[in-house]
Amino acid sequence: MVSHFLVLSLFAFLVSIAFALLMRDTSKEQIRFAIFSFVCFVGTAFVIGWLMYPFP
């Protein structure tokens, strides 16, 4: 059985790390940005998922 949420989380985790290293300079800023980016990825997926819920 495939966990769609696990795949989504893995994707968000890896991309967030890369974005943080590319877009921020200090370690502290990178960690904060990586967490922010990860939460945005997963949160957006939840919001879009709920928006699509009424549709067949």
Binding site: L10, F11, L14, V15, A18, L21
Partner: protein
Amino acid sequence: MPTKQRARSARPDENVAAAIPACVSGWLVPGLGHFMLGKRGRALIFFGVVMSMFLLGLSMEGALVALDRSDLLQLLGGLAELGVGLPYFVVDLLGRGDGNVTAVTYEYGYTFLIVAGLLNMLIVLDVFDIAVGRKD
């Protein structure tokens, strides 16, 4: 003289010429460009991230698509995947990139492969910026 000051004091075309080997290396092996510029920690993390995405994509039965100029979407997908560099050619030569379009994870795998290539392209641009002195 610190690297950044030296890079800024050199002529722009010299900086660009010096950046090319690092950029090509960074494209061929994810993270190698940063490694050559002395950013070893970042290099290791970039290598881990890009290779993880690439291998996860293959394990989810995503496909390495051919560069077919008759189909624009397939061409763009192939170009994006090509961004990952040597691993693309190695897997293609080994015949492991055919994917399985009927697998439930096929689209996920394909997405991971494309994003691995695109991320490596961004990483190469970062190498360029560091090499010409625009960034530390």
